[in-house]
Assembly symmetry: C2
Homo-oligomer: 424 residues x 2
């Protein structure tokens, strides 16, 4: 056996079936973002490491980023996330861009992590951001875009929850516990809560300088589901969320803190209610990031959703509709008694009539050609044999209705279009 | 002034205006591919260098590829082209995939070249391929997919030419000149014809071992516009192209050879007839590539079109229609006398009615809010002031017609939908 060249570990092949799922997600993401007036954009795939070093957090920068020197010796990074690129792009045109800035994007990202269920090294991510506004209602709008997407793919509040917390509220609470000084480390500790066992987590707490007494306070804090009621910002966020109709999805969770260093206010995380999967999306308010990459201060709020986990969740809850890879409406068969040029001319005629037409590109028994149409879900076959050619007509087989009719050549486009419409 | 973090050289920022152009190209590429029954797929972005080393050619592999070691020490390459990934994917499922395989893709690629007009280090590329068929008619179908795209964006045969040649024909001719032994080097020499000056090109010919006598023969060969008539394959290709209606675009050119080593038959290249730009697309038949990456031999034919040159060509010939970044149909204004929650509730009501609705996310003078709608091409503004709120109604401003009408809250969705339809 010959040696087949292998794919890179954690990279993904999108055969037409997988591509259909990705495109189905993308189309729903577009619809949800556009329902709120967001404009599509994209950043580059290569950025400088400096861009992430600013505020993305050590794990992402030092452990998970793909960093290398290009042929000119410049150190470049395959983007692990989009928000820093967004901040850089906004900072570069800060005076010209009309505000508010409502932008969304869908594209590939790379993180060097151990591939496992719900996680690959190459993944696609949906990013939605609102810049130039600093209010609980703006935060709630982002939550509503996410929920609108869930609803568009058919996921309900009994299947999905959108958890929120507020880093400002946590800042105050940590200060009360005397933990203000090593806030970044304690946020990381909170972020690891669900990822480590109880013993390992408490040991980690000790390592980052949390005393046993502070640890008790911290545990009480993280168990307080009513904490949000102490925050006017959280109350306004919930009120705005209810006005937007997403109340049933919202759930306060003080353990949700997110791993990125640049968040400054509300943070968001979506999960399936059975907690079978990793987080479906993460996001939050980042009011200093545009300033940190060299722009003037500009508040921002956004979230990102990878394609892998949401794909698994949509499949588990059977939300993915039947998707057919072939776009073909009509297969033009090839008879061995007539030249390919005649079949191609017929195919071109049907295409000029607006139909999506595939030509069977070799002579084969008609049965085999019709079976190919059947396997690919192609509704009609157009037969141009010697008799049809001599008489200036075409026979159309309807493979679903199992009927067949012969039409004059000039009438065949209309006949097929009517057949396709009646099918809908 | 603060130091703004810069983008990587040759990388591209897609602000919403640039994204519209990319999406316009992508949509037309999809339409053209689907008109012929092609199914969308995608390869990974990272591949092994080995995959390209097989047959992509020295320039691409040794000079232009982005190659690096990942954190696990594996040597990976940012894909510089898609055909080797396609061949690998097909080889991996060769027994299961129904044939013929008609696939298309659109995504990012990377080549380390000097950025200049029409060339960036990150670019998007449309790939279209037909595998499992070896015939001039199959070659002509690929040419027709490309021409259908040109026609869909409005480009005509007086603006664009699709040049073809056949490597088998050239093989025979080179053998006649006694140049069969160093064919690969001579193909590269032919490929450089338009890229080097006459003197430099002749010097290069000497360096690759072409004698002065052979050079004269080669020059005569490359000037012979009727050479294709000696080839039955080329004749059948032209006949099939004419049956598909693309005759006016086709032009034989013996200097077209393409730079990739894996081509084995017909090669294609599209250019603007004024030759202002680099090639718009390149492609050809590759009957050994699937075998070369470890599969069984499977013939294939395809082409690739970058987004940069076609974008410049479409702009030069004024084919790009007016494109509006904002998808918003209705702007919900924010009055300072009412709470954001009331405005958000109205926005949610309009969205539930299927409208794309943006909320102005802060209190500002109504004039400024309406100006924002105007700048973004938003047709309608929905005003919910204290009077409207008290009376259960909404005032709709039609910014194009400069009219304004007040509707009962329950009637406002229908009124807006009718207004939008009458606009179309």
């Amino acid at each position: 056996m010959k040696n087949k060249i292998q794919a890179v570990k954690g990279a993904r092949d999108f055969y037409p079936e997988q591509m259909l799922l990705r495109n189905w997600l993308y189309a729903n993401m577009r619809s949800a973002a556009q329902a709120f007036g967001y404009q599509e954009y994209d950043g580059p795939f290569l950025e400088t490491l400096e861009l992430y070093a600013a505020k993305s957090g050590d794990e992402l920068v030092k452990e998970q980023s793909f960093v290398f020197n290009d042929r000119g010796g410049e150190k470049v990074t395959l983007r692990p996330e989009l928000t820093p690129s967004l901040a850089r792009m906004v900072a570069a045109r800060q005076r010209q861009l009309p505000r508010p800035i409502r932008w969304w994007s869908f594209g590939p990202f790379w993180r060097y992590e151990r591939p496992q269920k719900g996680r690959s090294r190459e993944f696609f991510q949906w990013n939605v951001d609102l810049l130039g506004v600093e209010s609980p209602a703006a935060d709630a709008e982002l939550a509503a875009v996410a929920v609108t997407f869930f609803q568009m793919v058919g996921l309900t509040a009994s299947e999905i929850k959108l958890q929120f917390n507020d880093r400002r509220l946590m800042d105050e609470q940590l200060a009360t516990l005397g933990l203000a000084a090593n806030k970044t480390a304690v946020f990381r500790l909170i972020d690891r809560r669900g990822k480590l066992g109880a013993t390992a987590w408490e040991q980690y707490a000790g390592e980052v300088g949390v005393t046993p007494e502070q640890l008790n306070g911290l545990k009480a804090l993280l168990a307080n589901a009513d904490l949000w009621r102490q925050s006017e910002g959280c109350q306004a966020f919930v009120e705005a969320g209810q006005a937007l109709g997403i109340g049933p999805f919202l759930e306060f969770d003080p353990t949700v803190i997110r791993g990125l260093d640049y968040y400054t206010g509300i943070v968001l995380e979506a999960r399936d209610r059975e907690s079978e999967f990793r987080a479906i999306l993460g996001g939050g308010r980042y009011d200093d990031l545009v300033g940190d990459v060299g722009g003037d201060r500009l508040p921002g709020m956004g979230f990102a959703m990878g394609d892998v986990v949401i794909g698994l969740v949509a499949q588990k809850y059977q939300k993915v509709p039947p998707l057919r890879p072939s776009p073909t409406q009509v297969l033009v068969a090839q008879f061995d008694q007539i030249s390919p040029a005649e079949a191609l001319r017929l195919a071109a005629q049907l295409r000029a009539g607006g139909l999506r037409v595939e030509w069977y590109p070799e002579t084969a028994k008609l049965d085999r050609q019709l079976k190919y149409a059947d396997v690919n879900g192609i509704r009609f076959a157009a037969l141009l044999g010697p008799d049809e050619l001599a008489q200036g007509c075409v026979t159309i087989k309807d493979l679903a209705a199992r009927t067949q009719t012969t039409y004059a050549r000039a009438a065949v486009v209309d006949a097929l279009r009517q057949g396709l419409e009646s099918q809908m």
